[in-house]
Amino acid sequence: MVISITQEDFDVNAMIQSRKAPEVGGLVSFVGIVRDDGITKIELEAFEEAALEELNLIKDEAFEKYPLMSVDIIHRIGMLNVGDNLLLILVAAGHRKEAFDGCEYILERIKETVQIWKKEFTEDGERWVPGEHH
C-alpha cells in the first residue's frame, strides 16, 4: 500500500492492477483534479512529516471502520496546472459498499486534518485557499 506526498503524477491503471487479489471484488478510486475556478495554476505546500503521519493514521482509521483489503493515498504537491491530477485515493474491498464508504471517509478526513495548503494564482494575483476545518 502506498501513502505518499509527492511531486510525481500517478498511474491509476497500474495501481488498480497491483491491488487485485482473490478476495477483491471492487475498487473505488477518487481522482482529484485541479479545477478551473478562474485560476492559471495552483501551488500545493505540505508539512510533509506531519501530513504523512496523519495520512497513515487516516488509513488505519479506515481499516478499523470498514472491512477493506487495501488503501492507497497519493497527494501531489508543488506547482500544478488546471486539469492536473492532485490526489488519488484507491480503496479495494470485497464488496462495493465498503469500498465506496472507505474512499469517501478517507477523502473527508484528508480535507479535515492533513497538513496541506493550496495557493491559487490568477491573472490578478494570488490567494491561499481557505481551509474548511479548524
Binding site: F47, A51, L87, W117, W128
Partner: protein, 92 residues
Amino acid sequence: MIITIKAFARFREILGSETAEEVPEGITLAGLLEQIADRNPKIKTALYEDDSTLRRYVILMQNKKRVNKEDVQTIVLSEGDEIAIYPPVAGG
C-alpha cells in the same frame, strides 16, 4: 535554549519556513508566541486578534502533536522542541 519554529502557508510567508529561536529556560508556548510577535507587527497581526487573544485559525503543533488552544499558556517548552504554526488545512 533553542526552539525550532516551522511555519506553513500564509504563516511561512511571514515567519519563514524554519527558524531557530533563542528563548529563556522555562518559557511557555504563549511566551514564545509573544516573543516572536513583539519583534514584528506583521507577525503580531497574523497571530493575534485586537484583544490579544490568539486568532481562531492559528493551529499549533508541539513536536508534531496538535496543541489545544487552552493549553498554550501552560505548556512549558524544552530545549530542541519543534513548534509548528499553520492555518486550517486545505488539501484534497
